[in-house]
């Protein structure tokens, strides 16, 4: 009974920590995106949030000012909307993105006394399928928001969004199929453990070396799924005002706004986990560093776990930054270009990659 309560407490703490970290980071990215766009466009940006005459610490101030502004705004509900579905849509949009973090491991194991804690919220046997399931649920928020708003811009945005997300889901799934074949498992924790070796003794054996094409397909499809420039047709503000969330204000708008950043973190987390060794630190094994040439540095488990979590976080932050740079560098696709890239570009490439992977594994055995 005691251990059951312990398990329950540990699971709750893990879930809460991951949730709060993701939400905090999403808030921070709001500022990073503004500051990044200002840097790229050679202007001074994101310096208006001055709290008590103190505008210097932009990040902290923006993180406090943003939610305050959204929470105190009037929640406008336009005439003729479907009240229930209009209110439900932001939550339906945010939920799948947040839940997906449950299967992303952020460290190996933490040993407390005689308990071994797996640093992953939900160690699922079907982890990858869970991700695909949640991604396919993500479409509903877009369509519901677009339809329930009783606005033609919103509806157009919603329909564009659903067509785009359904199209790129396929390419994303095929990239994941290749990764499943490479590692022989669907559990993301096992996948990260499988990336622990080294080529020639010093190059970390991360997934990107095995599957560079899958990485490109996955990153493209991931950015398309999160509906950011160059794939932001569902909300293209020069045509559709704000697309499927035109008719939202206040907290509901904040939820749509945050989902955008939560999805950025999600794509970064998945890319890190699948292609860049997740929490792996080069030469760091469960008991400490083992450098090539025989040198060793043994470390206690707590230090190893902290190093792994830091490694995972740094990689995730890098890919968040990369996505923000991509967003402010590229122009928006035209709709036919978007569809052509998805169906004629990424999808056949994904099939090819999966088939080549299967043939290679069949010919040379399991990695």
């Amino acid at each position: 009974m005691d251990s059951l309560w312990f398990e329950l407490a540990v699971s709750t703490i893990k879930a809460l920590v991951v949730l709060l970290m993701v939400l905090q980071l999403a808030g921070m990215l709001g500022w990073v995106e503004r500051k990044g766009s200002a840097l790229i466009q050679d202007r001074i940006g994101a310096n208006r949030a001055s709290i008590f005459g103190f505008a210097g610490a932009g990040l902290i101030n923006t993180m406090m000012a943003d939610p305050l502004k959204f929470l105190t705004k009037e929640d406008l509900i336009p005439e003729g909307v479907d009240h229930l579905l209009h209110t439900l849509a932001p939550a339906v949009h945010l939920f799948p993105a947040l839940v997906t973090f449950a299967v992303i491991p952020f460290g190996d194991v933490l040993v407390i006394g005689d308990h071994t804690i797996n640093l992953q919220v939900a160690p699922l046997n079907v982890g990858i399928l869970f991700i695909l399931a949640m991604v396919s649920l993500g479409v509903y928020g877009v369509v519901l928001g677009g339809w329930a708003s009783n606005n033609r811009w919103s509806l157009l945005g919603g329909i564009r969004g659903s067509a785009q997300m359904i199209s790129y889901e396929l390419a994303m799934g095929l990239a994941l199929v290749a990764m499943i074949m490479t590692y022989g498992t669907l559990d993301l924790q096992a996948m990260v453990r499988g990336q622990g070796g080294h080529f020639l003794g010093f190059i970390p054996a991360w997934g990107i070396w095995y599957q560079p094409l899958a990485f490109i397909i996955f990153l493209c499809a991931g950015i398309a799924e999160s509906k950011r420039v160059p794939f932001d047709l569902p909300e293209s503000e020069s045509e559709l005002v704000s697309g499927f969330f035109t008719e939202y204000s206040g907290t509901k708008h904040l939820m749509f706004f945050m989902t955008d950043f939560v999805e950025v973190i999600l794509v970064a987390g998945l890319v890190t986990t699948l292609f860049f060794g997740g929490w792996q630190v080069p030469f760091l094994a469960r008991d400490g560093f083992h450098f090539p040439g025989g040198a060793e540095l043994l470390l206690p488990n707590v230090v190893v776990a902290v190093l792994q979590i830091v490694s995972f976080s740094v990689k995730v932050l890098f890919f968040c930054w990369l996505q923000i740079m991509i967003r402010w560098t590229l122009p928006r696709f035209r709709y036919d270009q978007l569809m052509r890239l998805g169906w004629i570009g990424l999808l056949p490439l994904g099939f090819l990659n999966a088939i080549v992977t299967a043939v290679v594994i069949l010919a040379w055995g399991q990695h």
Partner: protein, 169 residues
């Protein structure tokens, strides 16, 4: 704990299933269907069938999404205030529903010994319902059925392409 959850979620699922047929609003009806199938996936998890649960969400949520779009784009979005079903249809509906309920009751009685009871082992064997177990069965014991299903799906895909390519007018 499991018992309470079962009846809570089961009640919710029956309610949303009723919502599919009882609401006159096409979009809400489709949404109810999504909720029903999602809760069905939760029940698969209760039965240790994780793989089937994940597939349930991937396949059905994805497929219903298309239905959903058809509802939004092609149907008239007004709720129809006029009852257009002819009265004779009601008779058939009621008759069909009663026959179905009787059949289910009969099956339940026949399968009485299969239902979970005090004498039944509650835990599934290790590895049950995992993707490895399902995959092994699918590619060895049920290979022929698997191939036939694949052929059927291929026919469906080709049919869809042929229909989409046909020039209108």
């Amino acid at each position: 704990m499991g018992f309470v959850l079962f009846f809570l979620l089961g009640g919710l699922m029956v309610a949303s299933a009723l919502g599919v047929v009882l609401t006159s609003h096409p979009v809400r009806s489709t949404l109810c269907l999504v909720v029903t199938l999602f809760l069905l996936a939760v029940f698969f998890i209760f039965l240790d069938a994780d793989f089937v649960a994940a597939l349930q969400v991937v396949v059905y949520a994805g497929a219903i999404m298309v239905v959903f779009l058809f509802v939004i784009m092609l149907l008239n979005l007004q709720v129809d205030p006029h009852e257009r079903t002819p009265p004779s249809w009601r008779f058939f509906t009621l008759g069909g529903a009663s026959v179905f309920v009787l059949a289910v009751l009969y099956l339940l009685r026949a399968a009485g010994t299969l239902l979970p009871g005090p004498g039944m082992q509650s835990a599934a064997p290790a590895g049950f319902g995992s993707i490895e177990a399902v995959g092994l069965r699918l590619y060895t014991q049920y290979l022929l059925q698997f191939e036939i299903t694949g052929l059927l799906m291929l026919a469906g895909v080709i049919g869809a392409v042929v229909l989409a390519k046909r020039r209108v007018g």
